[in-house]
Amino acid sequence: MKCKVCREPAVIDIRRHNANFCADHFVKLCQDQVVKAISEFSMLEEGDRVLVAVSGGKDSLALWDLLDDLGYEAHGLYIGLGIGGYSDRSGDTVKAFAEQRGLPLQVVDLRADYDYDIPTAAAVTRRVPCSACGLSKRHLFDRAALEGGYDAIATGHNLDDEAAVLFGNTLRWQTEYLARQQPVLPARPGFPRKVKPLVRLGEREMAAYCVIRGIDYIVEECPMAEGNKHIAYKEALNEIEAMSPGSKQAFYFGFLARAVDRFADAGPGHAEGDDIAVCQQCGVPTTSEICTFCRLLDRAAGAEPVQLTRKGKVIA
């Protein structure tokens, strides 16, 4: 296998591009794809201050590394979710990365700062853990970005994430979600701009980028996410991709080019009662008196913590 660019020995093949790359040209490819995504979807402008949502996983650390390399003022925000040893290891990984690179990192710890954790919130609200987690993260990222005066929040969603979410939303024709599935969500009152600069890069490429760049990331999967539908959709799409390379990219980018606008009427600002009030507790725009985050907080904060194993599994 030879590098498509320099003909030196390749370290990775990317079948959807029908091309192989050496380490240096693969890193260049990743940078080029991020630059292209940022420009194609008008995600960021030169000199923007960006808050990167970092989890310790491959995507968010690679994103932080790439944005910093590209010259953006990229600061990290890590949220300690309180999922046992998994969260401890994730937090340590993020802190080590930030320290090595001299990058500013802000840490919010759910247990220390809000007196709850994700396993407990999931149990007392009877939400699935990924739902309690997503809701908490969105609220806290939004708040930190607005308070810190950032131009945008950047998340590490990659092509596989977007294709899998699109697959799930299409299976059930969840039109409101389909309307919102854009690589950029513009700022609106109470909410900062959100951008996904990795949408042109697959999950395998992000893991390879970290290996090549020597980025130590947390490889283990969140113990609470095991067996969730999102992962099952990714596996199904990878079966299709193996048979027909380029399917995931065609599915997602075809949706953006030819379908997403058709769902615009179902998107935010169109549904009756969308964000007509502000939360009486925290002041964010909401559809009811109290926003979903504050409702979760009301029930979870101070509740008896759920006990976990060392790996972060709930002890029944």
């Binding site: 390749a10 370290v11 192989n20 993260k137 395998r204 969730n228 999102h230 992962i231 193996a242």
Partner: protein, 69 residues
């Protein structure tokens, strides 16, 4: 007959595979999708056409992650 040591995850385990064997053949033998894993030897990526020889030791690392972010 040479033996290649292969470290796998979920669950974490090490298996011996008869070599020499190419990466593509190894993944086929283990019924793993090339889209879903990377093969790493001594901190370096191993391309699909590389042959593993006696005493080689590789990690097969899953790349799929998910949940809410």
């Amino acid at each position: 007959m040479s033996v290649v040591k292969v470290h796998l995850r979920n669950p974490t385990r090490t298996i011996d595979v008869d070599g020499p064997i190419t990466i593509v053949a190894l993944l086929q033998k283990l019924d793993l999708n090339r889209e879903s894993v990377l093969v790493i030897r001594g901190g370096t990526l191993v391309p699909g056409d590389a042959r593993l020889e006696a005493d080689d030791e590789v990690e097969i690392r899953p790349v799929i992650s998910g949940g809410a972010r």
